[in-house]
Protein backbone atom coordinates (compact mmCIF):
# COMPACT_ATOMS: atom_id res chain seq x y z
CA UNK A 1 0.00 0.00 0.00
CA UNK A 2 2.81 2.38 0.92
CA UNK A 3 4.51 1.52 -2.32
CA UNK A 4 1.37 2.29 -4.30
CA UNK A 5 0.87 5.61 -2.53
CA UNK A 6 4.50 6.52 -3.08
CA UNK A 7 4.17 5.70 -6.75
CA UNK A 8 0.91 7.61 -6.97
CA UNK A 9 2.13 10.84 -5.39
CA UNK A 10 5.87 10.55 -6.03
CA UNK A 11 7.11 13.41 -8.19
CA UNK A 12 4.02 15.53 -7.53
CA UNK A 13 4.59 18.85 -5.85
CA UNK A 14 2.57 19.86 -2.81
CA UNK A 15 0.96 22.52 -4.97
CA UNK A 16 -0.31 20.07 -7.58
CA UNK A 17 -1.66 17.71 -4.92
CA UNK A 18 -3.41 20.70 -3.38
CA UNK A 19 -4.96 21.73 -6.71
CA UNK A 20 -6.09 18.18 -7.34
CA UNK A 21 -7.63 17.94 -3.87
CA UNK A 22 -9.43 21.25 -4.36
CA UNK A 23 -10.75 20.09 -7.72
CA UNK A 24 -11.96 16.82 -6.20
CA UNK A 25 -13.57 18.61 -3.28
CA UNK A 26 -15.40 20.97 -5.64
CA UNK A 27 -16.74 18.02 -7.60
CA UNK A 28 -17.78 16.21 -4.41
CA UNK A 29 -19.69 19.26 -3.23
CA UNK A 30 -21.22 20.12 -6.60
CA UNK A 31 -24.60 18.32 -6.18
CA UNK A 32 -25.49 20.67 -3.31
CA UNK A 33 -25.03 23.73 -5.46
CA UNK A 34 -26.38 22.87 -8.89
CA UNK A 35 -29.85 22.16 -10.25
CA UNK A 36 -30.88 18.90 -11.94
CA UNK A 37 -30.07 20.14 -15.41
CA UNK A 38 -26.54 21.14 -14.49
CA UNK A 39 -26.08 17.91 -12.59
CA UNK A 40 -26.97 15.98 -15.74
CA UNK A 41 -24.45 18.04 -17.69
CA UNK A 42 -21.84 17.21 -15.05
CA UNK A 43 -22.66 13.51 -15.34
CA UNK A 44 -22.15 13.69 -19.10
CA UNK A 45 -18.88 15.58 -18.60
CA UNK A 46 -17.62 12.92 -16.19
CA UNK A 47 -18.77 10.20 -18.56
CA UNK A 48 -16.65 11.69 -21.33
CA UNK A 49 -13.77 12.28 -18.95
CA UNK A 50 -13.89 8.60 -18.06
CA UNK A 51 -14.18 7.24 -21.60
CA UNK A 52 -11.53 9.71 -22.76
CA UNK A 53 -9.20 8.43 -20.07
CA UNK A 54 -9.84 4.84 -21.17
CA UNK A 55 -9.24 5.69 -24.83
CA UNK A 56 -6.10 7.59 -23.89
CA UNK A 57 -4.51 4.35 -22.61
CA UNK A 58 -4.45 3.10 -26.18
CA UNK A 59 -3.71 6.29 -28.09
CA UNK A 60 -2.05 8.56 -25.57
CA UNK A 61 0.15 5.93 -23.96
CA UNK A 62 0.72 3.21 -26.55
CA UNK A 63 0.13 5.32 -29.67
CA UNK A 64 -2.56 3.12 -31.21
CA UNK A 65 -5.37 5.19 -32.71
CA UNK A 66 -8.79 3.65 -32.11
CA UNK A 67 -11.76 5.30 -33.81
CA UNK A 68 -14.14 2.53 -32.84
CA UNK A 69 -14.26 2.63 -29.06
CA UNK A 70 -18.05 2.70 -29.24
CA UNK A 71 -17.85 -1.06 -29.78
CA UNK A 72 -16.59 -1.60 -26.22
CA UNK A 73 -19.20 0.74 -24.77
CA UNK A 74 -21.96 -0.86 -26.83
CA UNK A 75 -21.04 -4.48 -26.15
CA UNK A 76 -20.75 -3.85 -22.42
CA UNK A 77 -24.01 -1.90 -22.36
CA UNK A 78 -25.80 -4.76 -24.08
CA UNK A 79 -24.23 -7.44 -21.87
CA UNK A 80 -25.28 -5.66 -18.69
CA UNK A 81 -28.71 -4.71 -20.02
CA UNK A 82 -29.53 -8.22 -21.25
CA UNK A 83 -28.42 -9.78 -17.99
CA UNK A 84 -30.59 -7.30 -16.10
CA UNK A 85 -33.75 -7.39 -18.19
CA UNK A 86 -33.75 -11.10 -18.98
CA UNK A 87 -32.19 -12.68 -15.93
CA UNK A 88 -32.54 -10.05 -13.25
CA UNK A 89 -28.79 -9.90 -12.73
CA UNK A 90 -27.62 -6.58 -11.33
CA UNK A 91 -25.27 -4.14 -13.07
CA UNK A 92 -22.19 -4.83 -10.95
CA UNK A 93 -22.26 -8.52 -11.76
CA UNK A 94 -23.12 -7.45 -15.30
CA UNK A 95 -20.00 -5.30 -15.26
CA UNK A 96 -17.92 -8.33 -14.28
CA UNK A 97 -19.43 -10.15 -17.26
CA UNK A 98 -18.93 -7.17 -19.59
CA UNK A 99 -15.20 -6.79 -18.84
CA UNK A 100 -14.16 -10.09 -20.44
CA UNK A 101 -16.48 -9.50 -23.39
CA UNK A 102 -15.03 -6.07 -24.14
CA UNK A 103 -11.48 -7.26 -23.44
CA UNK A 104 -11.90 -10.27 -25.73
CA UNK A 105 -13.25 -8.02 -28.48
CA UNK A 106 -10.23 -5.74 -28.04
CA UNK A 107 -7.95 -8.76 -28.13
CA UNK A 108 -9.42 -9.95 -31.43
CA UNK A 109 -9.07 -6.53 -33.06
CA UNK A 110 -5.59 -6.10 -31.63
CA UNK A 111 -4.45 -9.55 -32.65
CA UNK A 112 -5.64 -9.16 -36.24
CA UNK A 113 -4.02 -5.75 -36.55
CA UNK A 114 -0.74 -6.25 -34.75
CA UNK A 115 -0.11 -9.77 -35.94
CA UNK A 116 -0.41 -8.70 -39.56
CA UNK A 117 1.31 -5.36 -39.18
CA UNK A 118 -1.73 -3.13 -39.64
CA UNK A 119 -0.66 0.25 -38.26
CA UNK A 120 -1.52 3.92 -38.22
CA UNK A 121 -4.47 5.02 -40.32
CA UNK A 122 -5.18 1.45 -41.42
CA UNK A 123 -5.46 0.35 -37.83
CA UNK A 124 -7.90 3.20 -37.16
CA UNK A 125 -10.00 2.10 -40.15
CA UNK A 126 -10.02 -1.46 -38.83
CA UNK A 127 -11.38 -0.27 -35.48
CA UNK A 128 -14.12 1.68 -37.28
CA UNK A 129 -14.96 -1.41 -39.32
CA UNK A 130 -15.43 -3.54 -36.22
CA UNK A 131 -17.68 -0.97 -34.58
CA UNK A 132 -19.73 -0.84 -37.78
CA UNK A 133 -19.97 -4.66 -37.91
CA UNK A 134 -21.32 -4.55 -34.37
CA UNK A 135 -23.81 -1.81 -35.20
CA UNK A 136 -25.20 -3.66 -38.19
CA UNK A 137 -25.07 -7.03 -36.43
CA UNK A 138 -26.96 -5.83 -33.35
CA UNK A 139 -29.44 -4.06 -35.62
CA UNK A 140 -30.49 -7.52 -36.81
CA UNK A 141 -30.08 -9.47 -33.58
CA UNK A 142 -33.57 -10.36 -32.36
CA UNK A 143 -32.23 -11.57 -29.03
CA UNK A 144 -31.61 -7.93 -28.11
CA UNK A 145 -34.71 -6.61 -29.92
CA UNK A 146 -32.66 -5.64 -32.99
CA UNK A 147 -33.28 -2.12 -34.23
CA UNK A 148 -36.37 -1.73 -32.03
CA UNK A 149 -34.02 -1.22 -29.09
CA UNK A 150 -33.61 -2.65 -25.64
CA UNK A 151 -35.24 -0.91 -22.69
CA UNK A 152 -34.57 -1.11 -19.00
CA UNK A 153 -37.59 -0.76 -16.72
CA UNK A 154 -37.92 2.79 -15.43
CA UNK A 155 -39.91 3.73 -12.34
CA UNK A 156 -39.84 6.36 -9.68
CA UNK A 157 -37.58 5.16 -6.94
CA UNK A 158 -38.22 6.15 -3.38
CA UNK A 159 -34.58 5.67 -2.51
CA UNK A 160 -31.30 5.10 -4.28
CA UNK A 161 -30.39 1.49 -4.92
CA UNK A 162 -26.68 1.56 -5.59
CA UNK A 163 -26.46 -2.19 -6.00
CA UNK A 164 -28.98 -2.14 -8.86
CA UNK A 165 -28.02 1.34 -10.12
CA UNK A 166 -31.56 2.60 -9.83
CA UNK A 167 -32.07 6.01 -8.35
CA UNK A 168 -31.58 9.75 -8.59
CA UNK A 169 -29.16 11.66 -10.81
CA UNK A 170 -27.14 12.47 -7.69
CA UNK A 171 -26.37 8.78 -7.22
CA UNK A 172 -25.33 8.41 -10.86
CA UNK A 173 -23.20 11.51 -10.49
CA UNK A 174 -21.26 10.09 -7.57
CA UNK A 175 -20.86 6.72 -9.28
CA UNK A 176 -19.37 8.40 -12.36
CA UNK A 177 -17.21 10.69 -10.25
CA UNK A 178 -15.78 7.70 -8.38
CA UNK A 179 -15.15 5.90 -11.66
CA UNK A 180 -13.41 8.94 -13.16
CA UNK A 181 -11.14 9.41 -10.16
CA UNK A 182 -10.38 5.69 -10.09
CA UNK A 183 -9.51 5.75 -13.79
CA UNK A 184 -7.17 8.69 -13.15
CA UNK A 185 -5.42 6.75 -10.40
CA UNK A 186 -5.19 3.58 -12.49
CA UNK A 187 -3.77 5.49 -15.45
CA UNK A 188 -1.15 7.21 -13.31
CA UNK A 189 -0.07 3.87 -11.85
CA UNK A 190 0.00 2.29 -15.31
CA UNK A 191 2.21 5.09 -16.62
CA UNK A 192 4.63 4.73 -13.75
CA UNK A 193 5.20 1.01 -14.07
CA UNK A 194 7.37 -0.95 -16.47
CA UNK A 195 4.53 -1.39 -18.94
CA UNK A 196 3.89 2.36 -19.01
CA UNK A 197 7.47 3.09 -20.03
CA UNK A 198 7.29 0.44 -22.73
CA UNK A 199 4.02 1.88 -24.05
CA UNK A 200 5.51 5.35 -24.32
CA UNK A 201 8.53 3.90 -26.10
CA UNK A 202 6.25 2.17 -28.63
CA UNK A 203 4.26 5.37 -29.09
CA UNK A 204 7.40 7.39 -29.72
CA UNK A 205 9.20 5.01 -32.09
CA UNK A 206 8.19 1.41 -32.55
CA UNK A 207 11.35 0.38 -34.39
CA UNK A 208 13.57 1.83 -31.67
CA UNK A 209 11.34 0.21 -29.03
CA UNK A 210 11.92 -3.20 -30.59
CA UNK A 211 15.64 -2.54 -30.82
CA UNK A 212 15.52 -1.84 -27.09
CA UNK A 213 14.18 -5.34 -26.56
CA UNK A 214 10.48 -4.60 -26.16
CA UNK A 215 8.11 -7.24 -27.47
CA UNK A 216 5.89 -4.62 -29.08
CA UNK A 217 3.14 -7.06 -30.10
CA UNK A 218 2.53 -8.15 -26.52
CA UNK A 219 2.57 -4.65 -25.07
CA UNK A 220 0.25 -3.29 -27.75
CA UNK A 221 -2.11 -6.17 -26.97
CA UNK A 222 -2.04 -5.22 -23.28
CA UNK A 223 -2.91 -1.65 -24.25
CA UNK A 224 -5.95 -2.61 -26.32
CA UNK A 225 -7.24 -5.14 -23.81
CA UNK A 226 -6.82 -2.85 -20.80
CA UNK A 227 -8.33 0.10 -22.64
CA UNK A 228 -11.32 -2.01 -23.69
CA UNK A 229 -11.77 -3.38 -20.18
CA UNK A 230 -11.70 0.09 -18.63
CA UNK A 231 -14.12 1.37 -21.27
CA UNK A 232 -16.57 -1.40 -20.48
CA UNK A 233 -17.70 0.28 -17.26
CA UNK A 234 -18.83 3.26 -19.32
CA UNK A 235 -21.07 0.89 -21.27
CA UNK A 236 -22.69 -0.51 -18.15
CA UNK A 237 -23.22 3.01 -16.87
CA UNK A 238 -24.66 4.11 -20.20
CA UNK A 239 -27.24 1.32 -20.15
CA UNK A 240 -28.43 2.04 -16.64
CA UNK A 241 -28.33 5.81 -16.95
CA UNK A 242 -30.17 6.16 -20.24
CA UNK A 243 -32.27 2.98 -19.86
CA UNK A 244 -32.50 2.51 -23.60
CA UNK A 245 -30.15 1.02 -26.14
CA UNK A 246 -30.43 1.34 -29.89
CA UNK A 247 -27.64 -0.24 -31.98
CA UNK A 248 -27.94 2.69 -34.38
CA UNK A 249 -27.12 4.97 -31.48
CA UNK A 250 -24.65 3.23 -29.14
CA UNK A 251 -22.44 1.76 -31.86
CA UNK A 252 -22.61 4.85 -34.04
CA UNK A 253 -19.29 6.28 -35.16
CA UNK A 254 -20.25 9.66 -33.67
CA UNK A 255 -20.14 7.98 -30.24
CA UNK A 256 -16.55 6.94 -30.93
CA UNK A 257 -15.63 10.41 -32.14
CA UNK A 258 -17.27 12.18 -29.16
CA UNK A 259 -15.24 9.94 -26.90
CA UNK A 260 -11.91 11.05 -28.32
CA UNK A 261 -12.64 14.79 -28.52
CA UNK A 262 -12.04 15.25 -24.79
CA UNK A 263 -8.50 13.89 -24.75
CA UNK A 264 -7.68 15.49 -28.11
CA UNK A 265 -8.70 18.92 -26.82
CA UNK A 266 -7.34 18.38 -23.33
CA UNK A 267 -4.07 16.83 -24.41
CA UNK A 268 -3.41 13.34 -25.77
CA UNK A 269 -1.15 11.27 -23.55
CA UNK A 270 -1.58 13.51 -20.52
CA UNK A 271 -3.32 12.27 -17.39
CA UNK A 272 -5.47 15.31 -16.75
CA UNK A 273 -6.11 16.20 -20.38
CA UNK A 274 -9.11 13.90 -20.89
CA UNK A 275 -10.81 15.33 -17.79
CA UNK A 276 -10.09 18.94 -18.69
CA UNK A 277 -11.07 18.34 -22.31
CA UNK A 278 -14.44 16.90 -21.27
CA UNK A 279 -15.11 19.94 -19.10
CA UNK A 280 -14.07 22.42 -21.77
CA UNK A 281 -15.95 20.75 -24.58
CA UNK A 282 -19.19 19.61 -22.97
CA UNK A 283 -19.25 22.57 -20.62
CA UNK A 284 -18.89 25.11 -23.41
CA UNK A 285 -21.20 23.22 -25.77
CA UNK A 286 -23.97 23.20 -23.17
CA UNK A 287 -23.39 26.87 -22.40
CA UNK A 288 -23.68 27.71 -26.08
CA UNK A 289 -26.87 25.67 -26.24
CA UNK A 290 -28.43 27.41 -23.25
CA UNK A 291 -27.33 30.82 -24.47
CA UNK A 292 -28.92 30.20 -27.84
CA UNK A 293 -32.07 28.89 -26.20
CA UNK A 294 -32.21 32.01 -24.05
CA UNK A 295 -32.02 34.19 -27.14
CA UNK A 296 -34.70 32.12 -28.81
CA UNK A 297 -32.57 30.42 -31.47
CA UNK A 298 -33.21 26.81 -32.22
CA UNK A 299 -30.45 25.38 -34.37
CA UNK A 300 -30.16 21.61 -34.35
CA UNK A 301 -26.59 20.55 -34.99
CA UNK A 302 -25.14 23.67 -33.40
CA UNK A 303 -23.31 21.47 -30.90
CA UNK A 304 -21.52 19.57 -33.66
CA UNK A 305 -20.51 22.82 -35.34
CA UNK A 306 -19.22 24.01 -32.00
CA UNK A 307 -17.21 20.80 -31.53
CA UNK A 308 -15.69 21.39 -34.95
CA UNK A 309 -14.71 24.96 -34.09
CA UNK A 310 -13.14 23.85 -30.79
CA UNK A 311 -11.17 21.15 -32.53
CA UNK A 312 -9.93 23.59 -35.16
CA UNK A 313 -8.85 26.11 -32.56
CA UNK A 314 -6.97 23.51 -30.56
CA UNK A 315 -5.25 22.01 -33.58
CA UNK A 316 -4.13 25.44 -34.77
CA UNK A 317 -3.39 27.24 -31.51
CA UNK A 318 -2.60 24.52 -28.96
CA UNK A 319 -1.37 21.43 -30.75
CA UNK A 320 -0.40 19.80 -27.44
CA UNK A 321 -3.96 20.30 -26.17
CA UNK A 322 -5.22 22.68 -23.52
CA UNK A 323 -3.74 20.93 -20.50
CA UNK A 324 0.05 21.15 -21.05
CA UNK A 325 0.10 24.98 -21.39
CA UNK A 326 -2.39 25.31 -18.54
CA UNK A 327 -0.23 23.06 -16.37
CA UNK A 328 2.74 25.32 -17.06
CA UNK A 329 0.59 28.31 -16.20
CA UNK A 330 -0.43 26.73 -12.90
CA UNK A 331 3.23 25.86 -12.28
CA UNK A 332 2.70 22.13 -12.14
CA UNK A 333 4.50 21.54 -15.39
CA UNK A 334 6.96 19.23 -13.71
CA UNK A 335 4.20 16.67 -13.87
CA UNK A 336 4.74 16.23 -17.57
CA UNK A 337 2.24 13.44 -17.94
Amino acid sequence: MDVILARLFGGLSFWSVFLLAAFTAALLAAPWFVNDYLLTVLIIILYFAYTGQAWNIMMGFAGQLSLGHAIYVGLSAYVAAVLFTRYGIGPWIGFLAAIPVAAACGAVIGFLAFRFGVTGVYFAILTIAFAEFARIGFDHLDFVNASAGLFLPVAQYAHNDLWRLRGSPTMFYYVMLAATLLALIVCRLLLRCRMGYFWLAIREDEVAARATGIDTFTYKMYAVVISAAVTSFAGVFYAFFYNNLYPENVFNISRSIEMILGPVIGGIGTLFGPILGAFVLTGLAESVNSAMAAFGFDLPGAKQVFYGICLLLVVVALPEGVWPPLARLLRIAKDRR
Binding site: C193, Y197, A209, A211, T212, G213, D215, G269
Partner: protein, 241 residues
Protein backbone atom coordinates in the same frame (compact mmCIF):
# COMPACT_ATOMS: atom_id res chain seq x y z
CA UNK B 1 37.87 -20.67 -32.41
CA UNK B 2 34.38 -19.34 -32.00
CA UNK B 3 33.88 -15.90 -30.58
CA UNK B 4 31.01 -14.32 -28.73
CA UNK B 5 29.54 -13.55 -32.12
CA UNK B 6 30.26 -15.82 -35.03
CA UNK B 7 29.10 -14.91 -38.52
CA UNK B 8 29.43 -17.87 -40.88
CA UNK B 9 29.16 -17.64 -44.68
CA UNK B 10 26.30 -15.16 -44.56
CA UNK B 11 24.68 -13.92 -47.77
CA UNK B 12 21.81 -11.56 -48.45
CA UNK B 13 20.36 -10.67 -51.83
CA UNK B 14 17.94 -7.91 -52.75
CA UNK B 15 16.50 -9.23 -56.00
CA UNK B 16 19.50 -9.17 -58.32
CA UNK B 17 21.80 -7.25 -56.01
CA UNK B 18 24.02 -9.27 -53.71
CA UNK B 19 24.36 -6.94 -50.72
CA UNK B 20 26.31 -9.33 -48.49
CA UNK B 21 28.18 -12.17 -50.14
CA UNK B 22 29.50 -15.11 -48.17
CA UNK B 23 30.81 -13.08 -45.24
CA UNK B 24 32.42 -14.82 -42.27
CA UNK B 25 34.07 -13.40 -39.17
CA UNK B 26 34.30 -13.87 -35.41
CA UNK B 27 34.08 -11.29 -32.68
CA UNK B 28 35.91 -12.71 -29.65
CA UNK B 29 34.53 -11.87 -26.25
CA UNK B 30 35.82 -8.59 -24.85
CA UNK B 31 37.09 -7.13 -28.11
CA UNK B 32 36.18 -4.10 -30.15
CA UNK B 33 35.66 -5.11 -33.74
CA UNK B 34 35.18 -2.64 -36.60
CA UNK B 35 33.58 -3.12 -39.99
CA UNK B 36 34.60 -0.54 -42.58
CA UNK B 37 34.10 -0.11 -46.28
CA UNK B 38 32.89 2.35 -48.91
CA UNK B 39 29.24 3.36 -49.25
CA UNK B 40 27.13 0.51 -50.54
CA UNK B 41 29.60 -2.12 -49.35
CA UNK B 42 26.87 -3.90 -47.39
CA UNK B 43 27.85 -2.77 -43.91
CA UNK B 44 24.40 -1.69 -42.81
CA UNK B 45 22.80 -4.79 -44.33
CA UNK B 46 25.23 -6.96 -42.41
CA UNK B 47 24.42 -4.97 -39.30
CA UNK B 48 20.69 -5.44 -39.78
CA UNK B 49 21.15 -9.18 -40.33
CA UNK B 50 22.84 -9.44 -36.95
CA UNK B 51 20.47 -7.05 -35.13
CA UNK B 52 17.44 -8.97 -36.32
CA UNK B 53 14.39 -8.09 -38.34
CA UNK B 54 16.00 -9.04 -41.66
CA UNK B 55 16.09 -12.64 -42.86
CA UNK B 56 19.34 -13.91 -44.36
CA UNK B 57 19.40 -16.02 -47.51
CA UNK B 58 22.27 -18.23 -46.51
CA UNK B 59 24.67 -18.86 -43.65
CA UNK B 60 24.37 -18.69 -39.91
CA UNK B 61 24.89 -16.23 -37.09
CA UNK B 62 25.84 -17.69 -33.72
CA UNK B 63 25.74 -15.54 -30.60
CA UNK B 64 26.78 -16.88 -27.23
CA UNK B 65 26.79 -20.42 -28.67
CA UNK B 66 23.22 -20.16 -29.99
CA UNK B 67 21.97 -19.44 -33.51
CA UNK B 68 20.16 -16.10 -33.63
CA UNK B 69 19.48 -15.62 -37.35
CA UNK B 70 15.79 -15.30 -38.02
CA UNK B 71 15.13 -13.81 -34.60
CA UNK B 72 13.14 -10.61 -34.32
CA UNK B 73 14.93 -7.42 -33.30
CA UNK B 74 13.49 -7.44 -29.78
CA UNK B 75 14.43 -11.09 -29.23
CA UNK B 76 18.00 -10.39 -30.34
CA UNK B 77 18.18 -7.50 -27.87
CA UNK B 78 16.85 -9.65 -25.03
CA UNK B 79 19.57 -12.21 -25.83
CA UNK B 80 22.20 -9.55 -25.22
CA UNK B 81 22.88 -7.60 -28.42
CA UNK B 82 21.96 -3.92 -28.20
CA UNK B 83 22.23 -1.53 -31.11
CA UNK B 84 22.26 2.14 -32.05
CA UNK B 85 20.89 3.59 -35.25
CA UNK B 86 22.88 5.40 -37.90
CA UNK B 87 20.13 8.02 -38.07
CA UNK B 88 19.52 8.44 -34.36
CA UNK B 89 16.10 7.47 -33.04
CA UNK B 90 15.75 8.33 -29.39
CA UNK B 91 12.16 8.53 -28.07
CA UNK B 92 11.72 12.25 -28.85
CA UNK B 93 9.02 13.35 -26.39
CA UNK B 94 10.40 11.35 -23.47
CA UNK B 95 12.93 12.87 -21.12
CA UNK B 96 16.56 11.81 -21.43
CA UNK B 97 16.22 9.82 -18.23
CA UNK B 98 13.02 8.08 -19.36
CA UNK B 99 14.71 7.11 -22.62
CA UNK B 100 17.33 5.26 -20.62
CA UNK B 101 14.71 3.93 -18.18
CA UNK B 102 13.06 2.05 -21.06
CA UNK B 103 16.30 0.17 -21.64
CA UNK B 104 17.02 -0.31 -17.95
CA UNK B 105 13.57 -1.84 -17.38
CA UNK B 106 14.16 -4.59 -19.93
CA UNK B 107 15.60 -7.07 -17.47
CA UNK B 108 14.10 -5.71 -14.26
CA UNK B 109 10.67 -4.63 -13.15
CA UNK B 110 11.58 -2.36 -10.27
CA UNK B 111 11.28 1.31 -11.24
CA UNK B 112 13.58 2.63 -8.52
CA UNK B 113 16.38 0.18 -9.25
CA UNK B 114 16.06 0.92 -12.97
CA UNK B 115 16.24 4.65 -12.28
CA UNK B 116 19.44 4.25 -10.27
CA UNK B 117 21.00 2.28 -13.08
CA UNK B 118 19.85 4.81 -15.67
CA UNK B 119 21.27 7.71 -13.69
CA UNK B 120 24.61 5.97 -13.17
CA UNK B 121 24.92 5.49 -16.93
CA UNK B 122 23.85 9.07 -17.64
CA UNK B 123 26.59 10.33 -15.31
CA UNK B 124 29.17 8.28 -17.10
CA UNK B 125 28.16 9.73 -20.47
CA UNK B 126 27.89 13.34 -19.22
CA UNK B 127 24.13 13.50 -19.74
CA UNK B 128 23.07 13.56 -16.10
CA UNK B 129 22.55 17.35 -16.02
CA UNK B 130 20.23 17.13 -18.98
CA UNK B 131 18.24 14.14 -17.75
CA UNK B 132 14.92 16.02 -17.42
CA UNK B 133 15.04 17.54 -20.90
CA UNK B 134 13.05 15.92 -23.68
CA UNK B 135 15.34 13.94 -25.97
CA UNK B 136 14.20 16.06 -28.92
CA UNK B 137 15.80 19.12 -27.30
CA UNK B 138 19.29 17.61 -27.32
CA UNK B 139 22.01 18.41 -29.83
CA UNK B 140 23.07 15.70 -32.28
CA UNK B 141 26.19 14.66 -30.31
CA UNK B 142 24.09 14.37 -27.17
CA UNK B 143 21.42 12.35 -28.94
CA UNK B 144 24.07 10.01 -30.30
CA UNK B 145 25.42 9.47 -26.82
CA UNK B 146 21.89 9.02 -25.48
CA UNK B 147 21.37 6.19 -27.96
CA UNK B 148 24.50 4.49 -26.71
CA UNK B 149 23.34 4.91 -23.12
CA UNK B 150 19.88 3.53 -23.88
CA UNK B 151 21.45 0.52 -25.59
CA UNK B 152 23.86 -0.05 -22.70
CA UNK B 153 20.99 0.14 -20.22
CA UNK B 154 19.68 -3.15 -21.60
CA UNK B 155 22.89 -4.76 -20.28
CA UNK B 156 24.15 -6.20 -23.55
CA UNK B 157 27.05 -8.58 -23.94
CA UNK B 158 27.64 -7.12 -27.37
CA UNK B 159 27.06 -3.52 -28.40
CA UNK B 160 26.42 -2.77 -32.08
CA UNK B 161 27.33 0.79 -33.04
CA UNK B 162 26.17 2.05 -36.42
CA UNK B 163 28.37 5.03 -37.36
CA UNK B 164 28.08 6.41 -33.88
CA UNK B 165 30.72 9.12 -34.28
CA UNK B 166 29.71 10.22 -37.79
CA UNK B 167 28.83 13.89 -37.84
CA UNK B 168 30.65 14.67 -34.60
CA UNK B 169 33.49 17.15 -34.23
CA UNK B 170 36.93 15.66 -33.59
CA UNK B 171 36.90 16.61 -29.89
CA UNK B 172 33.50 14.95 -29.48
CA UNK B 173 34.76 11.89 -31.32
CA UNK B 174 37.68 11.61 -28.91
CA UNK B 175 35.42 12.02 -25.91
CA UNK B 176 33.07 9.24 -27.00
CA UNK B 177 36.01 7.02 -27.97
CA UNK B 178 37.48 7.42 -24.49
CA UNK B 179 34.22 6.50 -22.78
CA UNK B 180 33.72 3.43 -24.97
CA UNK B 181 37.29 2.32 -24.49
CA UNK B 182 37.02 2.63 -20.70
CA UNK B 183 33.77 0.72 -20.76
CA UNK B 184 35.34 -2.07 -22.78
CA UNK B 185 38.33 -2.26 -20.46
CA UNK B 186 36.38 -2.13 -17.20
CA UNK B 187 33.37 -4.30 -17.99
CA UNK B 188 34.68 -6.48 -20.78
CA UNK B 189 31.87 -5.29 -23.03
CA UNK B 190 32.32 -6.46 -26.62
CA UNK B 191 31.64 -3.94 -29.35
CA UNK B 192 30.96 -4.37 -33.05
CA UNK B 193 31.11 -1.05 -34.83
CA UNK B 194 30.43 0.11 -38.34
CA UNK B 195 32.44 3.24 -38.87
CA UNK B 196 33.60 5.65 -41.51
CA UNK B 197 35.68 7.82 -39.24
CA UNK B 198 39.12 6.18 -39.31
CA UNK B 199 40.20 8.30 -36.35
CA UNK B 200 37.70 6.38 -34.20
CA UNK B 201 38.46 3.01 -35.78
CA UNK B 202 42.19 3.35 -35.22
CA UNK B 203 41.71 4.44 -31.64
CA UNK B 204 39.17 1.80 -30.67
CA UNK B 205 39.26 -1.35 -32.72
CA UNK B 206 41.52 -4.28 -32.07
CA UNK B 207 40.39 -5.94 -35.29
CA UNK B 208 39.02 -4.54 -38.52
CA UNK B 209 37.02 -6.17 -41.31
CA UNK B 210 36.85 -4.45 -44.68
CA UNK B 211 33.86 -4.98 -46.95
CA UNK B 212 33.58 -3.99 -50.58
CA UNK B 213 30.65 -4.85 -52.82
CA UNK B 214 29.39 -7.25 -50.16
CA UNK B 215 32.55 -9.32 -49.88
CA UNK B 216 35.35 -9.34 -47.35
CA UNK B 217 38.49 -7.90 -48.92
CA UNK B 218 40.64 -7.81 -45.80
CA UNK B 219 40.62 -8.57 -42.11
CA UNK B 220 43.27 -7.83 -39.52
CA UNK B 221 44.59 -5.38 -36.96
CA UNK B 222 44.09 -1.68 -37.74
CA UNK B 223 47.77 -1.25 -38.56
CA UNK B 224 47.87 -4.02 -41.14
CA UNK B 225 44.59 -2.85 -42.63
CA UNK B 226 45.71 0.69 -43.38
CA UNK B 227 48.72 -0.66 -45.25
CA UNK B 228 46.79 -3.26 -47.21
CA UNK B 229 46.93 -2.35 -50.94
CA UNK B 230 43.44 -3.64 -51.71
CA UNK B 231 41.95 -1.57 -48.89
CA UNK B 232 43.81 1.55 -49.95
CA UNK B 233 42.62 1.10 -53.51
CA UNK B 234 38.96 0.49 -52.76
CA UNK B 235 38.34 2.57 -49.70
CA UNK B 236 40.97 4.67 -48.04
CA UNK B 237 42.46 6.22 -51.15
CA UNK B 238 46.18 6.77 -51.61
CA UNK B 239 46.24 10.04 -49.70
CA UNK B 240 45.09 8.34 -46.49
CA UNK B 241 48.39 6.59 -46.00
Amino acid sequence: MTGLLSVGRVSKRFRGLVAVDNVSFDVPEGTIFAVIGPNGAGKTTLFNLIAGGMALDQGRIIFDREPIHGFSADEVCRRGIARTFQLVRPFPALSVEDNVMVGALLHRGNIDVARERAQALLRRFDLFDRRHRPASALTLPDRKRLEVVRALATEPKLLLLDEVVAGLRPTEVDRLVTILKDLNRETGLSILMIEHVMRAVMALASRVLVLDHGTVIAEGTPDTIVHNPAVIQSYLGAEAV
